[in-house]
Subunit: 566 residues, 2 copies
Amino acid sequence: MELTARIEAKQRLIDVAAGRAPADLVLKDVRYVNVFSGEIRRGDVAVVGGRIAGVGSYGAPNEIHLDGVVCPGLTDAHIHLESSLVSPAEFAKAVVPHGTTCVVTDPHEITNVMGTDGVEFMLRATEGLPVDVFFMLPSCVPATPLDEAGAELDWTAIDRFYGNPRVLGLAEMMNAFGVVHDDEAVLAKIAAAERSGKRVDGHAPGLSGGELCAYVGAGVQSDHECSDPDEAMEKLRLGQYIMIRDGTAARNLEALAPLLRGKAAERCLLCTDDKHPIDLLEKGHIDYILRKAVACGADPIAAVTAATYNAAQYFGLRDRGAIAPGLRADFTVFDDLEHFRVQAVYHGGVCVYDGALAPFAPPENDPLLREKALDTFHVAHIAPEDFAPNGSQGVIGMIPGQIVSTDEGRAERPDPANDILRIAVIERHRNTGHIGLGYLKGYGLKTGAVATSISHDSHNIIVVGATAEEMALAVRKVVENRGGITVVRGKEIVGDVPLELGGLMSDTPLTEINEKLEAAKRAAFALGVNEGIDPFMTLSFMSLPVIPALRLTTRGMVDVMTQRYI
Amino acid sequence: MELTARIEAKQRLIDVAAGRAPADLVLKDVRYVNVFSGEIRRGDVAVVGGRIAGVGSYGAPNEIHLDGVVCPGLTDAHIHLESSLVSPAEFAKAVVPHGTTCVVTDPHEITNVMGTDGVEFMLRATEGLPVDVFFMLPSCVPATPLDEAGAELDWTAIDRFYGNPRVLGLAEMMNAFGVVHDDEAVLAKIAAAERSGKRVDGHAPGLSGGELCAYVGAGVQSDHECSDPDEAMEKLRLGQYIMIRDGTAARNLEALAPLLRGKAAERCLLCTDDKHPIDLLEKGHIDYILRKAVACGADPIAAVTAATYNAAQYFGLRDRGAIAPGLRADFTVFDDLEHFRVQAVYHGGVCVYDGALAPFAPPENDPLLREKALDTFHVAHIAPEDFAPNGSQGVIGMIPGQIVSTDEGRAERPDPANDILRIAVIERHRNTGHIGLGYLKGYGLKTGAVATSISHDSHNIIVVGATAEEMALAVRKVVENRGGITVVRGKEIVGDVPLELGGLMSDTPLTEINEKLEAAKRAAFALGVNEGIDPFMTLSFMSLPVIPALRLTTRGMVDVMTQRYI
């Protein structure tokens, strides 16, 4: 903002604060959370030009009376927006009624597909939404050298984005091994973020002792992978901020809720990491975490502070996170600090939810970027022969409720009757013709096939099926849809979730995507998929060669512990 | 730092942290304060390349055993280094043994004399000291339009300094009236600091309610002028950080110590503002505040955190403030957290004090800047006639122990026998020949004269005396000395404190300046100065036309309440 504009905005605010001019609106005689003093206080909150002008005694033609508790707007400190399966505008529609006014996203998924065009696409797709979207830049594209992603990004590829004020740093540094072992390319990414004065988020489940010191000392300032309080306290004592995560794929809140009492709470933030449609619709977002945290014994004000001020503080967002003069007028009004039912949401002084969502126009993306996002599948015609047995291959064992797998030896051919299914991963970014083949045990499918272009982290097409014909049809349908999830039975498409944006998201409304997804799930279960397994989410992890024991990539079966093809 | 150098430094640190390489030194099995968890913990602290590599279990050829409590190095969050009357190198020698490793200075005094050359001079004079010196840029030069200072600085004059990584923001915005009344030039200074991502410190004693909201909302983020807990809590609740001040000129710790318990402590910092030689030598620095705070009931760890981590956090100094991997190895080792006796001090991993101060070479200043600092007096010959009565003039009444004054009406001529002394302020920056004349009551001098070039905030020469001859001699001696304090009796110089750097500081060691100053004080008292008055410090405020009731400037006597010459 130009200096003159800054000065004029200040003058307008000062005049209201000092009582010389009327506010745009006044929240009259409300109870509000003061994150600085840790109190619930009562007073008038005057707003002008989207900012809080004053807290005290104010009047305005536009006085709002609220019987709930006014909190600063909620922040999700770490999410991959792609996990909602919908465009950011549709995501915003889903989370604003839950009180979210700010999210920090890592566009890791779409960047693995589209490279830096993915970052650009998401930056454009999040402009002017009723929830402010900030970015951390993907640090690991591809996730490992074994992966065939849509791009390979070193520090030079992403450095220019740090000039964007919505880019706050480098996202979860998953390559803890690389950090701890002095990998120059990895450390260059951290050093470049630091040089720009930005944050570096961590991702290091279980890292401890000297290796944790090395990781923290290298500059990694947060962690969202803690699953027990001792791990969290070790990291916190070494200076990391702890993002308490409770999302769809991983839920650590019950274990970590004790941190939201006392001194440690000052260093805690809240995040979801991944949030699937049904979860957003049925549970909520950060409001759900607050409700559950307090039910688990968290101090309510400490929990609210974690979801607001602490996030702003950590990310250097000095314009938000509290109810105080000069800050953005982002408010979430709860009925109380026990049930956390959202009564109203204000974003930049504008009421965006008061029982109903205020309509807004989704941002227009750049036509060329949109075209690129709609054209990410480059795969030659797939035929049943592509999945034909060609000798002995490894068998991945699936475990209900988990994303780790087991090594089930080898098989010669599919045997659905005995739970040995054909699984394949088809490279789809550059038409290399690479198809990795293997077998899958424990999925349970008796007939038909399931294909998905959500396959972490490179998002090639993963397909599993009882017959080669059904597998080929399922894959062809995914390609025809420009991405998504397909369930096939015989020659029929019995489940179909088109995700046309990068093969990961859709412009369709969230409720609609959710219906399609739940219908497809039912179809998959009807084909025999084991009840303990999420037919698509669990499958989507079978190609991520960083989680033990066996994984299938476009080049074949990988023994994760040795990082070798078998 | 270049990216390559950053990466190499990281690799060196990582290797030590991970146990693959020996540390430069290890504090072995020490008790240390963990500011994140609020605990005293025990462990090994490994240091390499001036940074902390790890905290846990480490060994090194160079193991240090300490029986005290290791704290992060102490920070003075707001000081005018000039108040010590010595050069920054001499100041460093005085404060390092008290555990200070970092100070944030506002070079307000020398900038009123030298303009931005004063900022530049202080930046150079503080390079490479064993205490890190950061800067806030003077916001009010001159302090008021009634003052004749050595410079007039608007935002454009100081903006270039924000590029210096040691410049952290805009110093205490004393012109609260200007802020609250939309003064464009004042708001431009705040807006420019914000645009550079910097902090804006406040100075607004007693400001409250809507005007305080206006001041905070305009962007002023801290205050060090609170003198009671209610005032502090009002400011804290509105989002300001509270710098608890305990220095020479103002001491608010006893009143504010209750803040250093519980939630409010998170938003508190410690500072001295002004620190005179005898105070530094006899009481100490931030260590003294800690000792006194705990004696007043502060939580010891909260007090240490205010003096370390909170300051780093507020000023955005991400490389310090805690004992954690990756941060600077700045340590202050206390015997315990009650007496706060300093056993040792480490600065960037180097022991700079262990009962004795490690010698260091003071930085070489730029020769041209030094020449300028030594040549700030531009005054024509001063004769007794300059102080001759020229009609009825106002009488300033001094009050023992205070810097406010009273309006004692008018007088026609000096009458030392009845405590009516001649007082004059001589413009000394640009040889304008301006001499403001008036009378002073309550100072008590019976014979002789006292002159000083420390006269807030413009630092012209202030002189008071029983006879015009003695006054002229005292002023001439100050000019001859290129600044300082002089006490004259008859034709004899009976007290003499040369302050040749800008008329404010000396290269002389602190103990020597202190001896001269105390000798000069004794000489002044011997001439009759009232015991309740600091002969030089109280006098130095008599020309600051922002403190009621009467003040004398180079242009004459000012009624402060009306801001008019009488």
